[in-house]
Amino acid sequence: MSRKTKVLLAKLGLDVHNRGLVTVAMELRDEGMEVIYLGNCLPDEIIATAIQEQVDVIGVSSLGGAHLSLGSLLMQKAEQKGFKEELVFLIGGVFSPEDAEALAKIGFDGVYPPGSSRATIVSGLKAALSKKQAVDSSQLKDRR
């Protein structure tokens, strides 16, 4: 039997807006995924929890303008730990089209501005997951 997809969700830093992330949490749970909702966290703690909980997906949310500063810190930490190519990274929040491109460039597999639908997020997550797992399935098995 295949294991449930495990998703870690966190608010990046001190951002106060959580309506979007809570909605996504409920929707992913309804899709049959296991969701860990971490609340407000800095990249270090997000990565540490991801390792401890052996998650498949890290989803972060930032509506307060810190998406690039903290988003790139998150990707740096992931790279240092050798997780960047294995896990799926998603980010939602308020950002300009340019910043959305920049976020994709630094390694976010899914970038979701306001108005992103449940279907878009779920299909994006699944596509990224199968792509990464196909590339890295042997390594993943070793680790788990």
Binding site: R19, G39, P114
Partner: protein
């Protein structure tokens, strides 16, 4: 055995107080009879069967209340309408038609646009820009570390200093923020959100006034100071318990009412709760529950409801359902007057006014085709002005992309000025008054708000519903359902789920944060810690902690802390030590 009489709810009290009122209906019974016959005949003969069957429909809108609407409204919807009791003239109880007799002829709504980004010197420039272009009030928003009460050089503030608001760490920053601005001439709204940070940031403002030799009784403006924002709407890493947060809210009010008499000590905030995700009705019911519990607590501390009521202000969100928005502003004005009069025994009509600032709804704006938001916000603003609000902020069209650019912020201000100068809507007080529809809807909204207020009071009051998570669950159920309605297309959003366009739109200009705010804040904090008398700082913080624990009002001590150069984070540490931490209920 004698039982303590159970405490009556506001709804029960109002029903008792109003039941013996002698009404003089405006409509003649004979005319109503005739109208009824004509109406029934018309409904049978002229209205299509499908419309007859669906006489009532429920408009499906973002942040809507689900209140049904008839196809047509007539005097039959409100046969006992009594002009004096239900409306009165503008400036007369129950103030349905507005709090001032001459409404906007006497004083236009305050055009108050938000400003805040980067360091205090950056925001100072935006403030001057807005004032130079005819803004009549200032509204300051703070960055996330400031709102969440951490210093700019705290590790948790990494990468977030000066974003989506201005960074303020101490009285020195407050001084830079208001450089060249006469604190005794402008009205300043500090969008401090929480009771806790209001008790930290407003003392810095007071310390600045003292330093500039401006007496506190000359200061005009407002703080938010609302538990809803700290314990319900917020997502944050550390929370103090609701009862302590509520106590700080009351401490703020008590101190400010006495020492800064023209200052609005609390802006009872419906806005952020509504935007978080709740209906037009719940927004107001929750705010009233909070206001009632706050006034009761302060009455228990020995203060007079009239004295307090005179400086109470509300803050509402104005969304898409045009007539509902205008009607419910009228409804809550009437309801608040009745609550102050009958529940709190207020004698001075002035202290029963529901004065309010409103902001157009941000959640109702879309990322698709952002210029459409100019139109949306324009309708929101019109509904607010027709409802008779005191002060207005119009959201900018680019808010789904970034903090508003200068161009977008100016367009928001212009939206207000066009309403004020070019449309003529401000010439007549309460222009919607007397509309069969609007009056019926005003009654409907009042009844629904009161019913939800009753539910909260029956559950033990507002702080109790926060502690046990009832309010959190109500909100998350609402926004979850709203998401489904938008996704399924039942709630129609132009260019998002209906009339989508594939046209390539020109790229949007977005706001770029000024560089270097974080480094400047860090440097200033270093200088602050070097230059201040650190013994005085420790002593002031120790006194504050003592007051937190003993239950005496903490504000005089918080002002003393600001005076000697304590930083914001240092005060928050004291709160956490004295009150402990609280884990808010899960939203899902």
């Amino acid at each position: 055995m004698d039982m303590m009489p159970e405490k009556k709810t506001t709804k029960q009290l109002l029903e008792e107080a109003l039941k013996d009122q002698k009404r003089t209906p405006l409509y003649n019974p004979k005319a109503l009879d005739e109208l009824k016959q004509v109406f029934n005949k018309w409904q049978q003969e002229s209205v299509q069967p499908a419309d007859r069957e669906n006489w009532q429909t429920i408009p499906q809108m973002v942040l809507g209340s689900g209140t049904p609407r008839d196809l047509l409204y007539t005097p039959l919807n409100n046969p006992n309408f009594d002009y004096g009791i239900d409306l009165g003239n503008s400036g007369q109880p129950p103030f349905t038609r507005g709090v001032h007799a001459n409404m906007y002829r006497g004083r236009s709504f305050t055009r108050r646009q938000l400003a805040g980004y980067g360091g205090p010197e950056d925001t100072n420039e935006r403030i001057k820009f807005l004032l130079d272009h005819g803004a009549t009030g200032i509204s300051i928003i703070f960055d996330l570390p400031t709102i969440q009460m951490y210093d700019s050089d705290d590790p948790v503030s990494t990468g977030q200093v000066g974003m989506s608001g201005v960074a303020i760490d101490s009285v020195e920053d407050m001084d830079l923020l208001f450089k060249d601005i006469a604190l005794d001439e402008v009205t300043v709204s500090l969008v401090s959100h929480y009771p806790s940070n209001s008790a930290i940031l407003f003392p810095m403002y007071l310390a600045l006034a003292k330093r500039r030799g401006i007496p506190w009784d000359k200061l005009k403006g407002s703080i938010q100071n609302d538990i809803t924002l700290e314990e319900v709407v917020r997502s944050g890493p550390e929370y103090i318990p609701p009862q302590d947060c509520f106590r700080i809210q009351c401490d703020n009010i008590e101190f400010i009412r006495k020492e800064v008499p023209l200052w609005n000590f609390m802006t009872i905030n419906g806005y952020n709760l509504r935007e978080f995700g709740t209906s037009a009705v719940t927004e107001m019911a929750v705010a009233l529950a909070n206001a009632i519990e706050t006034l009761e607590t302060l009455q228990d501390r020995g203060h007079d409801a009239d004295w307090l009521g005179r400086r109470l202000a509300f803050f509402w969100s104005i969304g898409n359902d045009f007539f509902e928005e205008a009607a419910r502003i009228r409804a809550v004005r009437r309801l608040w007057h009745r609550i102050m009069k009958h529940r709190f025994g207020a004698e001075d009509p002035r202290s029963t006014w529901m004065r309010c600032h409103v902001q157009t709804s941000g959640v109702s704006l879309t990322r698709q085709e952002p210029l459409n938001n100019v139109v949306r916000a324009g309708y929101h603003a019109l509904a607010a002005v027709l409802g008779g609000v005191q002060s207005l902020h119009v959201d900018s069209f680019d808010e789904a992309y970034s903090v508003p650019t200068e161009e977008a912020a100016l367009l928001s201000l212009r939206t207000q000025q066009i309403l004020q100068e070019e449309t003529g809507v401000t010439q007549v007080a309460d222009p919607l008054g007397g509309s069969f529809y609007v009056e019926a809807l005003t009654y409907e909204m009042e009844g629904r708000i009161l019913a939800e207020l009753d539910e909260i009071e029956t559950l033990g009051g507002y702080v109790a519903t926060i502690k046990d998570g009832w309010i959190h669950r109500k909100i998350s159920n609402y926004f979850r359902k709203e998401r489904e309605l938008v996704e399924s297309g039942q709630t129609r959003v132009v260019a998002e789920n209906v009339y989508q366009s594939k046209a390539e739109l020109p790229p949007i200009n977005v706001f770029r944060y000024p560089e270097g705010a974080s480094q400047r804040q860090k440097r200033r904090l270093e200088q602050l810690r070097e230059n201040r008398d650190n013994q005085k700082v420790s002593a002031a913080l120790a006194q504050l902690e003592k007051a937190c624990r003993s239950g005496t009002n903490i504000l005089p001590l918080a002002v003393a802390c600001a005076d000697v150069g304590c930083s914001e984070g240092e005060l928050f540490v004291v709160f956490k030590k004295a009150f402990g931490l609280w884990k808010p209920p899960a939203l899902w």
